[in-house]
């Protein structure tokens, strides 16, 4: 439409209106400016003797933003220049974010990959000097597995049932209160959950350090996540399915168990696994409630245990090259576990996402 009017207008008043075919920078202009500014930055950096390559990068980015603004303002006009300016800012944000995040992953992998081997995975720290080489994470892996497993056994059913309540039954005040407090609970700092279990389980009821009390705190952290994700998934189940089941005379509880939940099971599994991944990485409450142990303790209900994040924390605290190496090894294993859980969860989500019916 604009094209038509502008071409029609062009013959009577060619000067009044900037034609749509105004001068534009060629498509290769951003790339060219980027190359130019990087070259300039290298020249400036080398000339001024700046040691840090980070500074070179910052100079290059500044040059890129200002040159492209200047050139665009000259050729394309003020508004286009502003557009280009913000485009380059957005790209800068992207690069700025990628740098530390990729650095984190790469650095962990570099440091950890030389440490992780069979010996590291199936030995504990029993009898290993904290300042010496050797030792491994077997006790921590075992502890993580048991504590997270117990927490999931507690939190998943409660979370699932709560979500069912909110979606299928909940009306009125109680449901509103539960919804609100689930939201609030999502934001509880993990250390506060740890303090709560400490005050109830250990101080008021008099239990000692054990893997199980850690699991209780982890379960508190896990419940709201499970409720939230399950709720979203149950809401996606089309109402026609429920109505069809009711029309056949199926009671409500059976409808939920046999129709609604199976339809949403993929999403529910995903949510639970993401929650498991989250609590696997929790350090603070476990440190407080499970304590630390250098040997293998297979009984989560009795005595201190170890846990992967706490192991990293402990080895970091020993403050020597061997313990740092062990910390990086454990960090790599932990990242692998958490990322693995995430990837599997997302795979399930994609594979069995509920059909929404449109």
């Amino acid at each position: 439409m604009t094209t038509a009017t502008s071409t029609a207008d062009r013959s009577p008043a060619p000067q009044l209106r900037r034609p749509l075919t105004a001068a534009r920078l060629p498509r290769w202009a951003p790339a060219g400016i980027a190359v130019l500014s990087i070259a300039l930055a290298c020249a400036i950096g080398a000339g001024a003797g700046l040691a840090s390559h980070l500074q070179w990068g910052v100079i290059a980015a500044l040059l890129f933003v200002s040159i492209s603004y200047g050139v665009a303002a000259k050729v394309e006009g003020h508004r286009q220049a502003k557009d280009r300016f913000f485009t380059s800012l957005v790209w800068t944000a992207f690069v700025l974010a990628v740098v530390p995040l990729v650095a984190l992953l790469v650095y962990t992998f570099q440091q950890g990959s030389s440490v992780v081997d069979g010996n590291f995975l199936n030995h504990s720290m029993r009898g290993v000097l904290s300042s010496g080489p050797g030792g491994g994470i077997y006790h921590a892996l075992l502890g993580t597995l048991q504590q997270v497993g117990l927490a999931t056994l507690i939190a998943a059913p409660i979370g699932l049932l709560t979500a069912v309540y909110l979606v299928e039954y909940g009306r009125g005040r109680l449901a509103a209160a539960v919804t609100f407090f689930v939201d609030v609970m999502t934001g509880i700092p993990s250390i506060v959950a740890g303090l709560f279990i400490l005050s109830v389980w250990n101080l008021a009821l008099g239990f000692d350090y054990s893997g199980f009390s850690g699991s209780l705190a982890l379960a508190i952290l896990m419940m709201p996540v499970v409720v939230r994700s399950t709720e979203e998934m149950l809401k996606l189940v089309p109402n026609e399915l429920r109505e069809a089941a009711f029309a056949l005379g199926v009671p409500k509880w059976k409808t939920i168990l046999r129709v609604v939940i199976p339809t949403a099971i993929g999403g529910i599994t995903t949510g639970v696994m993401l929650a498991v991944a989250r609590i696997t990485g929790e350090t603070a409450p476990v440190l407080m409630l499970v304590f630390v142990s250098d040997s293998i303790n297979t009984d989560p209900f009795n005595g201190p245990q170890m846990n992967l994040p706490v192991y990293i924390w402990q080895q970091y605290g020993y403050n020597n090259q061997y313990s740092y190496a062990r910390a990086w090894g454990a960090a790599l294993v932990l990242i692998a576990v958490v990322m693995g859980l995430n990837l599997i969860a997302r795979g399930i989500a994609r594979w069995r996402s509920p059909k929404t019916g449109h």
Partner: protein
């Protein structure tokens, strides 16, 4: 429920009405029991969650009141943390409030603009082939455990921030805030903690804002473009106003995480009970970090004192999260209008 719908062939209707009284009663009786059990169980879980929340608040308040009664100095304004002193237990949260708020504020100042940039990049700027995997990567990074951020922060970020610190000291030292009292000391400062927290909350804020930007009605964007707006003008007039509540609540969620972050802060910060506006100097502390650090050696009053500080942290995060939820809830009211 069992009344036959219209259009069902007559024979079946008759058959069902003949047998229905008995079958219906048995079926209903059965279903009623099953329903009430199931309903009870699910409502019970919901109530259990409420009870847990109430218990958390109740126990923390109870323990805190014990501790604060024993405190010989003001809980709010004291700098030191010495609750297990038998003659004169004294502890206060002044340093912790300052450290927590300052580090979280630094994190927000850095993370929010960058996160909005990344979210816009994913939703509006990036070529689709990059956008999808990158969104995936951001989601994965949101799941990296905080201890790993802490380890990386302490062993990689701290040594690498020395240059930035001396640069800030050199050019911005006159502002007092960026004055470095001990040049060359490891950068285990609130400023470093703020940067690390920014990196940690970046994926969360990005993920939420990205979802909001995606929900911007296509019509609004196209209308702006059709009026001749450039891409940035379209974003400023259509995307950002629509996404503002979402951005605010995403930032609040990130803020909540930054305030409550424990172990990453504890690994990076070299804590002390000094309240200093020299943000680049090592020292200070945050609520969560203080709890993690002091817990191991705390006696009975010490534990209660830590619970009192935990209660303050709990209330702060509660307020922040509550505000975020309210903004999101308000947004729901008008989001139906633009489908």
């Amino acid at each position: 429920m069992t009344s036959s719908p219209p259009g069902v062939p007559r024979e079946t209707t008759e058959a069902s009405t003949e047998t229905s009284p008995r079958r219906r009663s048995s079926l209903q009786g059965n279903s009623r029991r099953g329903d009430s059990i199931f309903r009870g169980a699910s409502a019970g879980s919901g109530i259990l969650l409420l009870v847990i929340m109430a218990a958390i608040a109740g126990f923390l308040i109870y323990r805190s009141s014990i501790a604060i009664n024993k405190d010989t100095t003001s809980f709010l304004t004291t700098f030191e943390w010495d609750p297990d002193n038998i003659q004169k237990p004294s502890f206060g949260i002044a340093v912790l409030v300052f450290g927590t708020l300052v580090s979280a504020a630094i994190a927000m100042v850095i993370a929010v603009p960058v996160a909005i940039g990344i979210a816009l990049f994913i939703s509006h700027y990036a070529p689709r082939r990059i956008a999808q995997p990158f969104a995936y990567l951001v989601d994965l990074l949101a799941a990296v455990p905080s201890i790993i951020y802490g380890l990386w922060g302490a062993l990689f970020l701290v040594p690498h921030l020395g240059g930035l610190n001396s640069w800030l000291d050199h050019y911005l030292g006159w502002t007092y805030i960026f004055k470095l009292s001990h040049p060359g000391a490891p950068a285990r400062s609130l400023f470093t903690v703020g940067i690390l927290l920014a990196i940690m909350v970046l994926p969360i804020i990005t993920a939420v804002s990205r979802e909001v930007f995606r929900q911007v009605p296509r019509m609004h964007e196209e209308a702006a473009l059709a009026l001749g707006a450039t891409r940035w003008e379209m974003i400023r007039t259509a995307v950002l106003p629509f996404g503002r509540p979402g951005i605010i609540s995403a930032s609040m969620l990130g803020l909540g995480r930054a305030l409550g972050e424990t172990i990453a802060v504890a690994t990076v910060l070299s804590a002390s009970n000094v309240l200093s506006l020299h943000l680049l100097d090592a020292g200070g502390g945050t609520f969560a970090q203080n709890i993690a650090l002091k817990f191991g050696e705390a006696g009975s009053v010490g534990k209660d004192a830590l619970m009192a500080s935990g209660l303050v942290l709990f209330v702060i995060t509660l307020l922040v999260n509550g505000a975020a939820r309210m903004i999101v809830a308000r947004r729901k009211e008008y989001s139906g209008a633009n489908s």
